[in-house]
Symmetry: D3
Subunit: 333 residues, 6 copies
Amino acid sequence: MAKAFVAELPDGQPVTSYFVAKQVQARQRRSGEAYLTMVLADRSGELPAVVWEGVEDLAHGLADGDIVKVQAVLGAYRGERQLTVTRVRKAAPEEVCLEDFFPRTERDVAGMLATLDEAVAGIGDPHLKRLLQDLFSDPTVRDAFAMAPAAKAIHHAFLGGLLEHTVSVVGLCRLLADYYPAVNRDLLVTAAILHDMGKVDELGWERVFDYTDAGRLLGHIALGAFRVQERIRSIPDFPVELANSLLHCILSHHGELEWGSPKRPKTLEAIVLHYAENLDGKVASFLSFAKRYPDPQHPGWTQFNKALDRYLYVGQPPNEAGGSESGPTANDG
Amino acid sequence: MAKAFVAELPDGQPVTSYFVAKQVQARQRRSGEAYLTMVLADRSGELPAVVWEGVEDLAHGLADGDIVKVQAVLGAYRGERQLTVTRVRKAAPEEVCLEDFFPRTERDVAGMLATLDEAVAGIGDPHLKRLLQDLFSDPTVRDAFAMAPAAKAIHHAFLGGLLEHTVSVVGLCRLLADYYPAVNRDLLVTAAILHDMGKVDELGWERVFDYTDAGRLLGHIALGAFRVQERIRSIPDFPVELANSLLHCILSHHGELEWGSPKRPKTLEAIVLHYAENLDGKVASFLSFAKRYPDPQHPGWTQFNKALDRYLYVGQPPNEAGGSESGPTANDG
Amino acid sequence: MAKAFVAELPDGQPVTSYFVAKQVQARQRRSGEAYLTMVLADRSGELPAVVWEGVEDLAHGLADGDIVKVQAVLGAYRGERQLTVTRVRKAAPEEVCLEDFFPRTERDVAGMLATLDEAVAGIGDPHLKRLLQDLFSDPTVRDAFAMAPAAKAIHHAFLGGLLEHTVSVVGLCRLLADYYPAVNRDLLVTAAILHDMGKVDELGWERVFDYTDAGRLLGHIALGAFRVQERIRSIPDFPVELANSLLHCILSHHGELEWGSPKRPKTLEAIVLHYAENLDGKVASFLSFAKRYPDPQHPGWTQFNKALDRYLYVGQPPNEAGGSESGPTANDG
Amino acid sequence: MAKAFVAELPDGQPVTSYFVAKQVQARQRRSGEAYLTMVLADRSGELPAVVWEGVEDLAHGLADGDIVKVQAVLGAYRGERQLTVTRVRKAAPEEVCLEDFFPRTERDVAGMLATLDEAVAGIGDPHLKRLLQDLFSDPTVRDAFAMAPAAKAIHHAFLGGLLEHTVSVVGLCRLLADYYPAVNRDLLVTAAILHDMGKVDELGWERVFDYTDAGRLLGHIALGAFRVQERIRSIPDFPVELANSLLHCILSHHGELEWGSPKRPKTLEAIVLHYAENLDGKVASFLSFAKRYPDPQHPGWTQFNKALDRYLYVGQPPNEAGGSESGPTANDG
Amino acid sequence: MAKAFVAELPDGQPVTSYFVAKQVQARQRRSGEAYLTMVLADRSGELPAVVWEGVEDLAHGLADGDIVKVQAVLGAYRGERQLTVTRVRKAAPEEVCLEDFFPRTERDVAGMLATLDEAVAGIGDPHLKRLLQDLFSDPTVRDAFAMAPAAKAIHHAFLGGLLEHTVSVVGLCRLLADYYPAVNRDLLVTAAILHDMGKVDELGWERVFDYTDAGRLLGHIALGAFRVQERIRSIPDFPVELANSLLHCILSHHGELEWGSPKRPKTLEAIVLHYAENLDGKVASFLSFAKRYPDPQHPGWTQFNKALDRYLYVGQPPNEAGGSESGPTANDG
Amino acid sequence: MAKAFVAELPDGQPVTSYFVAKQVQARQRRSGEAYLTMVLADRSGELPAVVWEGVEDLAHGLADGDIVKVQAVLGAYRGERQLTVTRVRKAAPEEVCLEDFFPRTERDVAGMLATLDEAVAGIGDPHLKRLLQDLFSDPTVRDAFAMAPAAKAIHHAFLGGLLEHTVSVVGLCRLLADYYPAVNRDLLVTAAILHDMGKVDELGWERVFDYTDAGRLLGHIALGAFRVQERIRSIPDFPVELANSLLHCILSHHGELEWGSPKRPKTLEAIVLHYAENLDGKVASFLSFAKRYPDPQHPGWTQFNKALDRYLYVGQPPNEAGGSESGPTANDG
């Protein structure tokens, strides 16, 4: 059955499709009868929904984040669009494709994985290369790495976000290794590939994007270091100093203790990785926020960005601005 | 050969014994001749020393922290006591006993180990007990744990300091588990035993107390978590939640991100461990500082304590103060 | 008249009882007629209420926090339960018992006072003992100390909260004085008993829990120090040093300037008191928050705790978790 | 015997006079003989001194801060001026006048006290006036208030400094009360007079300027509040609200918790007092530092001021700067 | 047409007048028909409004902050007053007078300008005087300076607020220059006049008070320094040192880097200006907040002030408080 | 006369050359005779020096930072090398070449200027290009820009440092503009070229590297913004938005208020510039510190770096580490 997407639902016509149920709440009418409100969502958007019938059977069966099969009609309530649900049941995992429900990277996953493989292939140091090959040849790791979001919110909060962020940081680090020859290129690139690997364990993305228990209790920095350290132990003769330097990059990549790194960067590669990672995250946040939250009252500006604690300025497209203010013959000579 | 200790060297008489060489510096007399200055130390104290002869042979051979065999005479230079060294050579490891050179715990190491074993024996949870037994039945771990200092400076900066600090925190946590019945006693006691285990890897104590490369790059919080996590993986069916909770206690025991924990305490046991560990360290610091750095110009006060950023007040001994001012009939009239 | 509690009100039947009125607001119907909305509360919970009749007479007579006698019927409005009030008047103080309206300690007040008296009796230092006896033999002080909450919110925010918190800190300090023999036990226990005494003046609890003018302007640290210092002045020959040390414990017990202590702890007893008090408050907050705010969407977790700026993890009961993951014969051998 | 001041001692001639002994240290010559080094100081400056003879008798008798009678000759050691002491003994209190030894205010103490009395006389509120009269009619208080320094260092660190600082803040607050009519003038002026009264108890000035035990343990904010609160209690019918407001000004005058105030200013008078006090202290620090620590290498600048964490700029006298760069007829047209 | 002010609109009668439209939102009825909600405001207050008819023509024509001519009737919706609009169109600039729509200073603008001119006239230094005359003789500057608010919110957020704040700071600085003779009076007064001049460029006030693009990107500190520096460059022989000192005052007047000053005050005049400006702003905030946000539930207190992060205390009028607690004959003797 | 460099002075032979005099101090021998100590320095190092004769004539003539012509002999004093000066006089500017005395960039200045010119030539936006051309075609600016150090200490503290740092940041920004296509390349490159231009005014380098008065009072961020803003005003039709965006980059490039930027980055270009500049500075600091301050006691580590508040780890050369632990056939099996 082709997915009917929230953003394209026709007014007033019945629809049958799959959605994520969120904010499920049992309520009571004045008359005493129970009903259910929820939000039905997929990757294209979300809509409030109400279930008037058969609520008792549902009440204990539905939890936030469940993917459900729904029969409904799109109407309006107090001027807002609302789905009136006539049938609803939980969907079985095999009925659904996660990427229908969650935002996903707009880039090509296979292509990004290939880029990563190519970066691994370019590593000269045999221990680092083996470490990366061992990790990524494990299909569980590879698949999770390709699917995981990079965050619950803020930046790269979509399926494939970890991969997209990693590929971008790796690309930037390769540029920087060229620009600063003193950098140990193999170490920096390896650290860039692995720096956020712990997010595979920190975040869950099968129902809603959220932290796992391990994610909340241990965090992706420690979880990633565990994975890498454990794999290193399985490689004979992996040089101790190289292991320390690599794990140091992972532990310190947030840059400051108060940002969650238990150590601050003390090596050239750790310093470069921290800045590259930070810059890449900021650029991605800027672009995604500017796209999603322009402020119509202040042309050229975004709404207030809480993570950065400021408004962001996109400005006018440069040539347009130049053109409109300088006149036909000026300044071009 | 019985060790001659710095604190007991007789003035003006030749002495032959072993010391740690520190701050070794090659210098040049006006006449152009080379000489060597250093500080010779053992667990009882330290003295400046000078070597006038045979310096060329020594210059490249001596490094800070070397234990040396020395023939010298104690004199004075500008009013300060100084050793004039007539012969000096590096000592072989088998010639020396580390505890002669470094401050060591004043408590009985075997007794403290027994206390620890008894705490392990008292653990009811089979997984936690097995984890502890696995770790401490490894003689390398056990010996290092018994020998390691708990710090380079500040508190418990002596051989056996880690053990002494651990035993004290464990004892306190057992009291607290009794006082707060909601606490998972087995978990708290296990976490108390293991919380600083990473110091075995973070600190070196064979020459001078100092951080190892791994200590500086990864820190004892991550190093301890690595050890525990690795051992947990080798125990079949170790419950995931229990592992997460234990590792969380270790990672969060510094309490705040800016104090080096990548996660802040989120469980009751982690909260209790953090306070117990912090309190025990502060009490130990207070007592050791008060003993070593009284300020003769301000009776009852210590010199300025940089770590705490304040002066500490010891006051008058309680019974003396009480006695002198109250007496049997006083103060009630 | 037996109190009818909010949590047990029957639907659709008239009820007559006493409640605290909160958020009293005069409103106007489309038709122009005035009505009143408020929240009626007692220690068991609270309900929205509406008064349709006789509003003019009430409008200026009711203030937030007033205890009122009410005749009402429990119905529903937009699916939420709501009281429709038919008669309402302010209650006279003699009609009501404060403990019906505000949450109160679940522990036995008389028993806790006895514990405190026993702690006072155990003080050996005659000046400290006399100070405590003088303070607690004053019935105004004793009664207020037994009744006061320990906070407006966060932890021990209920009648008897100050006493419960104090007894708990005293008990912990007695343990710690045993554990650390260098501690002046009499001084520490006295300081533990008196450390939050200023809350008697800082908080009001006769209508709603809130700060008094003196509480907002001076705070419980200064107010408590005033009370203790004044009482000390009335005891002949109270040793100056002992007075300074005791007042220091009170002034410094928040531990840091930015937490409202004008001095940081500089004595062993002040350090121990600060940690004991902080730990006890954190444990109490944890348990009370975990009980009241579990997060049904994240089993084992609480909702977000603003005071601690984190989610808290309660986890599964240890034996259940162990059992479910280890199988019948495993791990017990 | 007329005091011979350090700044005016003649080279090479014997002198007999009184000085403060500081940094007294017993030392040992190469030959094994003991000698003593110290610094001898009075309000005009200080000089290193050495005692070669009769040291044994002195060693335990002299403490830092003692005022001593000395017979000595001024010579030089390694190019620095040094006193060689031939006789030294502790002086009896009646032999000396404190103001010879410590820096003292350059302003007229009696005149400043009169200014203060005049400010008290101008208070209209009878309770506040009585409070001030009660406090300052006590000769112990009055004398201590006239003599106390306002700080151990930084600003007003001289005899009479508290009085000078207080008079200046009072004058400024009177101006501000005129400028901002909403201010309760009597309250502000009273608070200005009393805000630092606790320094009388916080600082000792009979030997060296230093904190007393009470000063270090309780601080001048609490000590001042104690004095004022105690005196208020002795005045019948002193309005509670007025007492709270006045004590609030004293407790909050440092402005922020991290600057040692247990409450931040919440009333108009407390806000004004905080700024007036802060400004006056900064102006005094600036002028005194600029006078004492010009940086000859950077004309117009001071040396680095640690308390303010910056260099201060005094600049050229305005007319000189103007004159030198503009010429006689320029810029006026 | 005389302006009908929001605060004085009669119930139930048609009104025709000008208002600022805010929060304009297109909505949809259940029936599918579009309608518009907005808030209509002027300097006396604001009211919710709804437009049922002719919405399509309006939708794209109205933007937040537009001044509109409106025909409407005042009714009620769910007990809240609401305007039902029957006709609405954008007003032409010449139809309206800004001061009808925005809060404005209650003081006399011409009188304040005269005070400023008089302060300029009192400057003795010829360069500073010329600088001020050059700036304020430019009618664009003069008019903007007279009209600009001093803030978007917090204090002096009304038309004429910049002028009112500046005149107040100038007056205070003149007092302080008298009180501290070491201050360069001409420099301080000039700096006081110019310190917030950049607000003319930072804030827009023609539609709603808000930051301009330049205001958000560069800020009033830099914008003001630009204006002053540019004008200084146009004055021949303006002494470099004087220019540096004046610009330093402007750049540093926020006092700390984290408050937006790129340099902290290093001269006496910059220090005094910083405190004077800060104090004056705080006093104005206090008075305006106390007037607008009293907390009826806590007599004598304001509601919570977010900018200051505290409740403010106004207290009882002093004589009333005194009177009520002291009785007829007390305290006057 | 060929410069004799400090690092190459022969022992015991007379030398005549030019040096910078630092730490000039008049002293007095025991015999009462005056002498002078100073440090004589050039770009290769520095040596203590003493002048025994003719001191009276010199005393008032020499200031720190003067370049002097000196006749001296290299000997030793207490084992340290020391110059005994027999003749000394101030050098005339025309006698000396600054680059002999101060450390200078090791890169080719003309080449770096050419790189800058090439970057300017690559700017497409006509206004930005003209701005850059106007600025750099002024020979005073160009020369100062080529000569200025980038700091008094920390990184790029040598002649040509500003140019070297700028060229490196420009190069990095060009890479980043390629990597992030959303970036306005012309704006970013222009901002990179100009971001530290204010250092030309902030630092003096003709005697010692130190802040100018304007540098200390206004700082390079404001000084640079002044220069750029002034030049922009002279270009007709320079788009306002482009000017704001460029000035915003300059003002915000330190990234945070507490690091001295009066605005934080709000545009994509400002964000990228901030990270690029920060990263480039950190890399330069790392490399220069690692080269100059290795810690011989901790191979692979530097001494403590105060600016970064940590030790830095250089590690073993990668191939050596790899080689020594793996060998040709190892690790692949």
